[in-house]
Symmetry: C2
Subunit: 250 residues, 2 copies
DNA sequence: TTACAACCTTGATCTATGTCAATATATTTG
DNA sequence: CAAATATATTGACATAGATCAAGGTTGTAA
């Protein structure tokens, strides 16, 4: 399989040459013959088949996100949808040990995956102790994140949910920079209003209203609808409802 | 450390003598010198210190629930609470690799734990490959459960939430029995209305109203407020909003 | 057996967010 | 560039569930 950007060095035995500093991936690199790098097509519509990376009922692959944003979500019979995972670069996709899952993975933007067939991956998992350790660590971290998210879904107001989402995305994209002049936060929010509503358990109208309210109150600025500039990061964190500063501010 | 009921055989090398058929515990039993069995005091009030098994900021133990019901929950500064885990017999408590957690564990009923100091447990984790595998499997299962729960919190109606909770508890307590006469489901709901509301992201009044609505519609019967008899299990499953029967009915 | 505390139910009212609908702004395609 | 399509905003109105308040049950300790 031919490499495309971003270049990976499949023969490297550590993470230094890997564009994503992800220890699980290092273990993969040691078995370069299994490495497949593939660019997913751009996301089009929810229902269109081509946006679905993996459908829940047929997961033959596992992998890591290299670039782009994907999402894990679940749909009820009548169409209600809830996102249950936001997959950013370095996140793992898939469930070793099972070919079935209740969740679908969709590309939100163009997504590059470092992807593996499930069966040989499972063999690696039992052969390489380090990989198993790393998977456990990742699963426990995801579990913690899922539980934070449950607090958001169950108890936060619409305003708090939006503020939390913005703070999470800013942090995950390393978009929070402390300069002499203050805290500089500006990032692309690579989700539509609808995707945000699916993340937060709201409707897209409520998402839109809350974002525009934050704008009117000068907490954030909007550029081209999807690029966010945070004027008052401390205020944004207040609005999340979480205690203290979560480690962002000293 | 002296054993109390239920009797465990600390020297057993498989699960057969263990009251909870839990593979992780087997690995523990092989190292019996580390086994501590302790009965927690009964749950009294949320704020009373004696109901807290582990506080999030000082987790020196991990362990499994042997009997009783505990809960993992998270509290916001202003007192809003969300349960993020319902811990029934065989569930694992604690987070190896970290002494801190954002969540508190509280006893809901009297709880018996099979409990271990975190440090030696972590050593076992690296010494016993089987244990690490088992922990990974458990973490992935919990992650799936957390994600189902996110759908419940984000998208289900109050009615659907209650029906889902009843179905989950019935299943987890093995209270669903298929007889010649039909499906017999009856169980103790060892949670107060308030605890249910914390699980479901509702108020306790809404929980009460929905339970009594299900009673009026003859889906369930109540005995002494906490014992549930399900008259129409198929109907209850319909009310959960989940598709099909989730494998309960043929 | 009474009295107290914890837990639960029910009613009246309020409100945050959903729903429906119209319009505006971006983005893509021809 | 214009047309078409996908996204986003905004308004008017509806409603599920929250909140506030009162009274009823159940369990328990004296």
């Amino acid at each position: 399989m031919k490499m495309t950007t971003p270049a990976l060095n499949p023969a490297s035995t550590n993470c230094d040459d890997c564009p994503i500093k992800h220890r699980a991936v290092c273990a993969y690199c040691e078995k370069s013959e299994m490495l497949i790098l593939e660019t997913m097509k751009s996301y089009k519509t929810y229902s269109a088949g081509d946006s679905i990376i993996f459908a829940g009922d047929n997961m033959q692959f596992v992998g890591s996100v290299v670039t782009g944003v994907a999402r894990l979500s679940q749909t009820m019979e009548d169409g209600r949808r809830q996102m249950v995972g936001l997959l950013l670069p370095s996140d793992f996709i898939g469930r070793p040990g099972r070919s079935h899952s209740a969740f679908d993975v969709e590309a939100t933007t163009d997504v590059t995956l470092c992807r593996f067939e499930r069966k040989p991956f499972e063999k690696m998992l039992s052969d390489i102790p380090h990989l198993r350790e790393r998977m456990l660590e990742m699963a426990l971290d995801e579990l913690d994140a899922a539980r934070e998210w449950m607090l958001l879904l169950g108890r936060k107001t619409a305003r708090e949910k939006i503020a939390s989402l913005l703070a999470i995305i800013a942090r995950r994209q390393n978009a929070v920079h402390t300069t002499e002049l203050g805290i500089d936060v500006s990032f692309d929010l690579s989700l539509t209003r609808e995707a945000m509503s699916e993340y937060l358990g709201l409707t897209l109208e409520t998402v839109s209203r809350q974002i525009n309210a934050l704008k009117k109150e000068n907490v954030i600025k909007l550029e081209k609808k999807r690029h966010i500039i945070v004027n008052d990061f401390a205020r944004l964190l207040m609005e999340t409802g979480d205690d203290a500063d979560g480690g962002y501010l000293s």
